[in-house]
């Protein structure tokens, strides 16, 4: 059934359809409606889940970890400060191989207080072992939550579904909300191979000496890499059941492009508009929407970018002292290629400042006119 809903409610519906068993969450703008709607759904009996109204995000993640360890499907949602506070437990969930799913609404970090979109909060969690998927529409949010549960449970790793504050979280779009039956077919009940079980007692997370620890980390890496195999077949099956196609990396008019603009999140859809007009003007420009950030789809990125001369990366995030995080990741994916393109890094839209078609055009034209980047970071729309 198609309904016009906000991005946050797309999450709530997906969590309901996933027959999530335990929700533990703490309010934070701009995530709050996810939790409010879930608590309504629980009250009305539409979602038969235990909803733990915790006293902090740190506890929210700890509850999810406990619930998943006990063998139940667990979900939480947060933003910015909340995600930062969870940091210790993000490592814990991944290390314990628990497929918790988290909806993360990108919001800039304090100080000063800012509730608007920026990706630094989620990207700063890149080394925690969580899978990360970035969305460009409300439909994609709903679908990604279902896919995240499926993939996470298959590889026994937690997954984060990430989207922009306000541009998606509070924006109403038509979303096809699937019926329960096809979702049940796509997402079977969570049945972990090991769990806390009095009939089969086991200890989890015991003291692990150097003799074993490294192999455990190696297994996490292997499981993460396995997502590259699991995800395409999952997307395929999802497409067959629900009629919507996804890819980890989405090229847009890249055929014969000399310059490709790489983006993620809602900026990708604005970028497509700009690319369309520039193509009409005869410019050989294409776009690349990066949907999956962890594991980083390096191979797909190389395939998409291998033949172009220049890549412009528009980052709505910053790693101070190094630049845009997507730019870094792209550079490292390309650095061993014999014919690698020049990579131009741009920073724009921090703290929710608008990234307009004009600013995207500025990015493309700047990269177009230079042979090589003049500096590591090019700031767009900076007031002086």
């Amino acid at each position: 059934m198609k309904k016009v809903i906000m991005g946050n409610h797309a999450v709530s519906h997906a969590v309901r359809l996933a027959r999530t068993q335990v929700v533990a969450a703490y309010p934070i703008t701009p995530q709050t409606q996810i939790v409010e709607e879930l608590s309504n759904m629980c009250a009305e009996g539409k979602l038969r889940a235990k909803f733990i109204k915790v006293e902090s995000e740190h506890s929210a993640m700890a509850c999810c970890i406990g619930a998943a360890a006990a063998g139940s499907r667990a979900f939480t949602a947060t933003s910015s400060q909340g995600l930062a506070l969870m940091h210790e437990l993000l490592h814990w969930a991944a290390g314990a191989r628990l497929p918790v799913v988290l909806a993360e609404v990108n919001r800039a970090l304090a100080p000063g207080w800012n509730i608007w979109t920026e990706q630094t909060d989620s990207l700063a969690q890149r080394d925690t072992g969580w899978l990360q998927f970035y969305c460009t529409s409300n439909q994609e949010i709903l679908d990604s939550i279902l896919i995240a549960f499926r993939v996470a449970e298959e590889v026994s790793l937690p997954a984060m579904v990430v989207y922009d504050a306000f541009y998606l979280s509070h924006t109403y779009e038509a979303v096809d909300i699937p019926e329960q039956e096809p979702v049940d077919a796509f997402l079977p009940p969570y049945e972990p191979s090991v769990k806390l079980d009095v009939d089969n007692p086991m200890a989890f997370g015991s003291l692990t000496t150097p003799e074993y620890y490294m192999e455990m980390r190696h297994k996490i890496e292997e499981a993460t890499e396995r997502v590259h195999e699991v995800l395409p077949t999952t997307y395929e099956e999802f497409g067959r059941i629900f009629g919507r196609e996804y890819k980890a990396v989405e090229p847009y008019r890249c055929d014969g492009a000399d310059l490709i603009l790489a983006t993620s999140g809602t900026v990708s859809s604005t970028a497509q508009l700009v690319i369309e007009t520039l193509r009409e003007r005869g410019m050989r420009v294409g776009g690349l929407n990066i949907r999956m950030f962890r594991p980083f789809p390096a191979r797909a990125v190389r395939e998409a970018l291998g033949r172009c001369k220049k890549v412009a990366v528009l980052d709505r995030n910053i790693s101070f002292g190094q630049g845009g995080i997507f730019a870094q990741e792209l550079k490292s994916a390309l650095c061993n290629e014999p014919h690698r393109p020049q990579v131009f890094g741009f920073i724009a839209g921090l703290g929710g400042r608008d990234i307009t078609p004009a600013s995207i055009e500025e990015v493309i034209l700047t990269a177009d006119k230079l042979d090589a980047p003049e500096r590591e970071i090019e700031w767009i729309g900076l007031k002086t």
């Binding site: 709050t32 409010e36 629980c42 009250a43 109204k53 006293e55 400060q81 506070l85 304090a110 207080w113």
Partner: protein, 300 residues
């Protein structure tokens, strides 16, 4: 209190970002009035993070440090230490947090500060929910109240956490409850807090028109009624032992207080009676702790 007195030294400016009838802003106004300009305010995330005004403005005439939500007690401890090392021991350090930042996410850092007996004043303006993010329940939300995470069908099933008892358990030098409905008492408590060495905790009832669903001109009346119905008794505890009750409640029925607020509009007659019974019990218990056989009250 006479009118001029309030305006004598106003440290909260007009043009702040509070809603009409906000109890939290009135609370700060009285607190700073009592503490004076020699005060530094630490504000963890709460409505006051917004009320204090957007960059590059500030609604307070004293220094403000905005802090992470869970760190009121710890950040204030750090500010205290930093000032002390420069010999600025006379500066008041005021941690100013909401109920969420105090009862819930900030309880650990508050407990740490109190146990170390940091020389700070920690004030909690209690509007009984997470109001900044749009009215979600906190552990200060009263039994059966509506919030967006405790919908009417599923209204809050547990009573309000007794934060004063938690602090009393720390043997804190000074804990007091206060209310914006009784500004003389509130100011007297902050003035007293200035003179006491160690951690001082002041728990202020600060009604919230949008969150409690009453009309904004009723804020003071709601606050006064809370005390007079014994829902929010006004008292002090010294050194975690000695109780002094500062206000003799008129003993109005709780129903009167509940009826003023939309957040309780779904209550049944029986639920109201249950609430009344709990309030009566808690009050008796308080009298017992104050070792008062009969009513005997002393101003702060």
């Amino acid at each position: 209190m006479n009118h001029e007195q309030i305006h004598e030294e106003e440290l909260v400016c007009s043009g702040h970002y509070a809603c009409q009838g906000c109890g939290g802003v009135i609370a700060m106004r009285h607190a700073l009035r009592a503490l004076g300009p020699n005060t530094i305010v630490v504000i963890p995330a709460c409505c006051w993070s917004v009320i204090a005004g957007p960059f590059p403005y500030s609604a307070l005439k004293v220094p403000v440090f905005h802090a992470a939500f869970e760190t009121g007690g710890a950040t204030a401890s750090g500010v205290r230490a930093g000032l002390d090392m420069q010999g600025k021991t006379e500066v008041n350090v005021l941690a100013w947090a909401g109920d969420g930042g105090t009862f819930d996410i900030g309880l650990q850092s508050l407990s740490g500060a109190v146990e170390r007996n940091e020389n700070i004043i920690y004030a909690c303006y209690d509007n009984e929910a997470y109001m900044n993010t749009g009215i979600q329940r906190s552990s200060a939300t009263p039994l059966r109240a509506w919030t967006t995470t405790t919908p009417e069908l599923f209204s809050k099933e547990t009573p309000k956490k007794d934060i004063v008892q938690i602090l009393v358990g720390h043997k804190i030098p000074y804990v007091a409850t206060a209310s914006i409905g009784f500004p003389d008492d509130l100011q007297a408590k902050f003035r007293k807090a200035k003179t006491i060495e160690g951690t001082k905790f002041i728990h202020i009832l600060a009604p919230c028109p949008p969150g409690w669903k009453y009309s904004s001109e009723l804020t003071i009346r709601v606050a006064r009624l809370a005390a007079h119905c014994k829902v929010f008794p006004i008292y002090e505890v010294f050194d975690g032992e000695h109780y002094v009750i500062n206000l003799e409640p008129e003993g109005k029925p709780v129903a009167e207080y509940l009826a003023m607020q939309g957040r309780f509009s779904h209550l049944t007659e029986r639920q109201i009676q249950e609430i009344q019974a709990r309030v009566d019990y808690d009050w008796e218990h308080l009298l017992h702790k104050a070792m008062l056989e009969k009513f005997e009250f002393r101003g702060a």
